[in-house]
Point group: C2
Chain length 144, copies 2
Amino acid sequence: MQIGDAADASGISAKMIRYYEEIGLIPSPKRRDSGYRVYESSDVHRLRFIQRARELGFPVERIRELLQLWNDRKRPSREVKRVALEHIANMEAQIRRMRDLVGTLRHFADACEGDSRPHCPILDELAGDGADVEARPQRRRLRH
Amino acid sequence: MQIGDAADASGISAKMIRYYEEIGLIPSPKRRDSGYRVYESSDVHRLRFIQRARELGFPVERIRELLQLWNDRKRPSREVKRVALEHIANMEAQIRRMRDLVGTLRHFADACEGDSRPHCPILDELAGDGADVEARPQRRRLRH
DNA sequence: TATAGACCTTCCCATCATGGTAAGGTCAAG
DNA sequence: CTTGACCTTACCATGATGGGAAGGTCTATA
């Protein structure tokens, strides 16, 4: 099996398979005399694991941990669950941040007529609308 | 006012101010004989606009549009609102994607005992759990 | 006036995961 | 033997940001 077959079978592009090899996420496969990489079905199995984890949004470094746990047949499931829960917490934090942004922005957008007149509270808000952006005294050197 | 003052006043690092100049988001300021950049309070005003837009998650290219609209005193507010609504829609799409991922992943995590035993449905799921990942016939050359 | 040191300049590199391209070698079917 | 699908490595780009090096400028103070 050469790299294109492994790519088709795993859903990971040949380009990314080489990259994962380069960063040590997957072992370097055997080579033919020509230099062509040769993959076994166990390699494809590993690649599919990686692909599913990527689909779930795990960053590559988390996947590195998951692969180690997967290879260790005696791992406590606690550790796997910890990795998963951390990832969930990260995503939820990001979701919260984005929801806040959406809420704020929608507030401004709601206040905007959206017609042909130029007045626009969105721009007013971004412009700071009278906040003190006046000339400040020249920077003063910090001690010495 | 030199770049460090503008950075302090706007909340944008000196590094990023130079970058925004390089990509044409802000005009090149005057220079002293020494080459030092000289900023006016109007420049700081513009930088604060940019900073607020970044805080709201607008990508730089959207901010470029917003700055143009801001400078055009006759723009219809419709156009500003369109940019804002597009950004909201993008963020909401991203939030939806992430919520789906969290839902799926939490489903797996809930099924995992998270104790000292090795059995773990999360890894089982990632591993494909009996999906057909068997050796496939060698790639066949496409016609010719 | 000389020095210290805070500040500025440009240039290059790294991030993260991915895609693109180019130049060149390999392989199998016709 | 030719064709062309496939492989190899090496480099560049993304978006927005930070880090650092090497070197020049400015000003307060000894």
